[in-house]
């Protein structure tokens, strides 16, 4: 607790005006971490140019500067074992990197040129546009059924909304993009008003002020209001079935959530999520019932905030802050014969959570989990800095402090009230990635009984529960179930 208090005290801000905001976490470490965050992103892609934000960020972090080619930059960074990485989300673009203080001047010189003096070379543009198209068509649609399902879910929930396309864009828009489009995006959105400079570690005295002065060369820009409209509500569950030649069936299920960090019900919903489906942990309710008890798949989790690349990560990346979030269930691929049962089992558990809530014992244990586990989320200086920037976005104190203080006051009634208020088991968006979607669709629409066959005896309570699950009514309307070929999902 002592260290937490100390950490809380060390998060600093340079004097607010004029110029960009600076968040600092000074320390005695020989390493220095940068998080240069612009409060813009894919939500501000021009209407006909989905992908402009992400490709602009890529041109800065993975392209040359006016004076140096990309190859020269890579060679200069190499001996330092340093890099500049870019992450584009709906409302934030983050450039991050860490260097040993031995190399601080050289590293910062490169970083500054990359962000403030980009080269806009044609050959970099072609390479990075290819990377973006291949990411969508090959790495995501082609090779990763699970991340595909999650991203299609977001696109379905936010159809017709500024969040309604993948952060990387669409294939057709990327193919039509020009360097001038990116230069325009850079000019409009990479402004001082949008900029938050994050610095952590053992940088020398006066360094933060110097960085601030350098980045004050960007256009001033104007502060945004920050409001983002709610997505259109859907009546009745809508289903997107992605037809793909694949071994198994992957599901993502969700709906918009009107709660984000700082809202009164956020801590309560976080406890509910940590009880129901903590990410990649075996202690959640969904995991226990679907995987551990029934062996249906490799894992089952739930989310109240965007968590891309969850297949590869145990903790979420910071700087994905958004004004709008969704509730999401991730059912990892199931064997086709159990596909219908698995989805019904997830619906049964969601319904049960809403009807029964969580009990006092589970509440206390989960509250303790969230209270302690938050230390692990901020275990690196880079993550701590990222969370500090996100906390500023959401208008809350340092995340650890905010959670610990609000969890201390939380009651089980608060959690169950928040569950009833914000979660639902109707009017969902469901995404299915599967082979032979037409046959699976027919089974779902017919509400056929789907009994489970196990390879070992099950306890009577499981068998009794199965009787309910096997004929759980989904009541999908044929017109609300669409089958789309995988090749077209990000076109």
């Amino acid at each position: 607790m002592k260290a937490l208090a100390m950490a809380a005290l060390t998060v600093g801000m340079l004097a607010a005006a004029p110029g960009p905001k600076v968040v600092t976490l000074p320390g005695s470490s020989p390493l220095v971490t940068f998080r240069i965050v612009f409060l813009t992103g894919a939500a501000e892609d021009p209407a006909a140019k989905p992908g402009a934000a992400a490709l602009t960020a890529a041109m800065l972090a993975r392209g040359g500067t006016r004076e140096m080619s990309y190859k020269e930059i890579v060679d200069a960074l190499f001996p330092m074992a340093a890099a500049v990485t870019d992450q584009t989300d709906k409302e934030m673009i983050a450039f991050t990197g860490t260097t040993h203080v031995d190399n601080l001047e050289a590293y910062y010189g490169l970083l500054r040129s990359m962000l403030l003096d980009p080269g806009w070379r044609k050959e970099d543009f072609q390479r990075l546009r290819d990377d973006a198209v291949n990411f969508l068509q090959v790495s995501l649609a082609g090779n990763n059924d699970e991340e595909l399902g999650k991203e299609v879910l977001y696109n379905a929930i936010y159809a017709g909304h500024p969040y309604g396309h993948h952060d990387v864009g669409t294939v057709s828009a990327l193919k039509a993009m020009t360097i001038a489009d990116l230069q325009q995006f850079y000019k409009e959105h990479f402004t001082q008003a949008n900029l938050v400079i994050g610095l952590a570690g053992g940088y020398p005295k006066g360094f933060a002020e110097r960085v601030k002065a350098d980045f004050s060369k960007l256009p001033a820009g104007e502060k945004k209001t920050g409001a983002v409209a709610a997505p259109k509500a859907n009546h009745g569950t809508q289903v997107t079935m992605v037809e793909k030649n694949t071994r198994s069936v992957a599901y993502s299920i969700g709906f918009p959530l009107d709660v984000r960090r700082g809202d009164p019900d956020y801590p309560a919903l976080l406890v509910a999520q940590a009880y129901f489906g903590p990410h990649r942990e075996s202690g959640g309710r969904l995991f226990a019932r679907l995987r551990a008890e029934r062996g249906l798949n490799y894992g089952d989790y739930a989310y109240i905030e965007y968590f891309p690349r969850g297949m590869f990560l145990f903790e979420p990346e910071p700087n994905l802050a958004r004004h709008r979030q969704i509730f999401q269930i991730w059912i990892r691929p199931v064997e086709p014969p159990t596909a219908q049962f698995a989805l019904r089992a997830a619906m049964f558990e969601l319904d049960k959570l809403i009807r029964e809530g969580i009990n006092a014992e589970d509440f206390e244990r989960t509250r303790l989990f969230v209270t302690k586990n938050v230390n692990l989320l901020t275990k690196t200086k880079s993550a701590e800095l990222g969370y500090a920037i996100d906390s500023d976005f959401y208008g809350i104190p340092q995340y650890n402090t905010y959670l610990k203080q609000s969890l201390a006051k939380l009651t089980v009634e608060d959690v169950n009230r928040a569950i009833r208020k914000h979660l639902r088991s109707t009017d969902l968006q469901v995404v299915v990635v599967a082979k032979d979607c037409a046959a699976l669709k027919a089974k779902f629409l017919a509400n056929e009984v789907s009994p489970m066959k196990y390879n070992s005896p099950k306890p009577p309570e499981v068998m009794a529960e199965d009787k309910i699950i096997e004929s759980w009514r989904l009541d999908w309307k044929p017109e609300d179930v669409r089958v789309v070929p995988v090749e077209g999902v990000f076109e």
Binding site: K2, A3, L4, P30, L31, K71, D75, F78, P79, M80, A81, A82, A83, T85, G97, T98, H100, R127, Q137, V138, G142, N143, D145, A200, E243, N245, S248, A250, R280, E281, G283, A288, R291, A292, G295, L296, Y298, M311, E315, R332, P333, E335, L368, F369, V370, T371, K372, N373, V374, N375, L376, K379, T380, K381, S382, Y454, N455, S456, P485, E487
Partner: protein, 444 residues
């Protein structure tokens, strides 16, 4: 050292000590052997509050020597969460949850690691509970059969990615007798037969889940003395075993091999060019020199990357994998190719780059830049207690001590351009080469 260089991302924190020569592993750790053969490595760090425990079992898919039993080391990673009399799964999970712990496990060719990261006040609880499951794991046949389905689920989620298939075929082609022939997941047919292998699972546990195979690593906000006392208290009664697996030696490869994978759906093509590589060593220069060749020849700063990725733009991913192994393994260079028509040219460029090291001496300055990259990269990765423990685990599985890191980095420092050439002539040879290509199908 795991080296998939195209994916390299810098981390944060951790000190390079100022004194020369600088130790690569900068922590003052405590290493203690118990009478039963168990080893404890305690690594106090200056990251507050958090403790990370990695339990390394020197058993991986390498130990799966019986036909039909591939994938069992990995299956155990799952079964170990199936409880004991004292801690049934629900109680185990509830205890972890109350500790706010992040807990998981992973399996490689050579070892299995169980890791838990948590707040320091829960150290005794975690060590007690871990000791219990390593000594008293007790799962019923029905539970066993259910868990084998979760393993099949894991195979299913991996199966969407063609690179899993390519590496499966590469191993199967490159090896004849050694158990590195199969992946850690195992053959699909063996996974599907796992529900019938309850008795064998108990044999496997009895053989390998013994103190002489296990090292407990505790890193973070801890002291060596208190940790040693807790481990003695809870792990001291564990009985030593006697089993030693006879891992079949791989015969020398007598000529180049090739194979091809037809992937059923559209994807970009892959090319993998592999050479036989030596077993891990922190004494000879062989592995260290190959590690350096990996970065000299195939990293983002290499000439090949400039040519294929930046200038010609025929390839969008290029890298090499030179993972440390207990036994001789593979040095594999791989590339994702944008157009099928370029596969042959890309393959030839990869082979020519490898061949180049046999003919020409690398410039000394370039070699020094790579050595500097390795030192800084290693230090940047030690940015929290969990990362420190995990890094230690990757070396403990090879030599049972983090000291091997310091020795390895001293060997790196000693490698000369002439050493690079000599090692290339020894290992990057046509007769020891295996090339696998993968191409995608057409859209419907």
């Amino acid at each position: 050292m795991l080296r998939i260089v195209c994916l390299l991302v810098a981390g944060a924190v951790a000190a390079l000590p100022a004194d020369a020569p600088r130790k690569a592993f900068p922590y003052a750790y405590d290493q203690h052997d118990f009478a039963n053969g168990l080893r404890l490595v305690t690594i106090p760090t200056d990251y507050p509050n958090v403790v990370s425990v990695f339990i390394v079992v020197q058993t991986g898919s390498r130990n799966e020597i019986e036909p039909g039993k591939s994938g069992f080391a990995h299956l155990f990673e799952h079964l170990m969460f199936r409880g004991t009399a004292a801690y049934p799964p629900e109680k185990y999970q509830a205890t972890l949850k109350a500790a706010g712990a992040a807990s998981n496990a992973f399996t490689t060719d050579d070892f299995t690691a169980y890791h838990t990261t948590f707040s320091k006040e829960d150290l005794e609880t975690v060590l007690r509970m871990e000791a219990d499951r390593f000594q008293h794991l007790d799962y019923a046949p029905a539970v066993f059969r259910t868990e084998t389905l979760a393993v099949l689920g894991e195979y299913n989620k991996n199966s969407a990615n063609p690179i899993s298939k390519m590496f499966e075929v590469l191993r199967d082609t490159a090896f004849e007798r050694h158990t590195y022939k199969h992946t850690t997941m195992g053959f699909l047919r063996d996974i599907q037969d796992m529900p019938n292998q309850f008795d064998y699972s108990r044999t496997f546990f009895d053989r390998y889940y013994r103190p002489e195979y296990v090292t407990v690593i505790v890193a973070g906000d801890v002291t060596a003395e208190a940790t040693r006392g807790l481990v003695e208290k809870y792990w001291g009664e564990w009985k030593r075993g006697s089993y030693r697996a006879e891992i079949p030696a791989e015969p020398a490869q007598a000529g180049p091999r090739t194979n091809h994978v037809d992937w059923p759906t559209p994807t970009l093509a892959w090319v993998a060019v592999a050479f036989r590589s030596p077993a891990y060593t922190d004494v000879d220069k062989d592995q260290a020199a190959l590690d350096l060749i990996n970065f000299l020849g195939f990293s983002q700063s290499s000439e090949l990357y400039r040519k294929l990725v930046i200038e010609e733009q025929k390839v969008d991913l290029l890298g090499a994998d030179d993972s440390d192994h207990v036994d001789p393994g593979l040095f594999t260079v791989f590339a994702r190719v944008k157009k099928d028509a370029d596969i042959d040219g890309v393959r030839d460029a990869m082979v020519a780059t490898a061949d180049g090291f046999k003919d020409q001496l690398v410039p000394a300055a370039r070699l020094e830049a790579v050595k500097k990259h390795l030192r800084y990269g290693f230090a940047l990765g030690l940015n929290n207690s969990e990362a420190v423990a995990q890094t230690a685990a990757r070396y403990v599985e090879l030599r049972r001590t983090p000291e091997t890191v310091n020795r390895l980095y001293e060997v790196y420092d000693s490698v000369t351009p002439e050493d690079i050439r000599a090692v290339a002539r020894k290992y990057l040879v046509t007769d020891g080469r295996t090339i696998v290509t993968l191409t995608g199908g057409k859209a419907k």
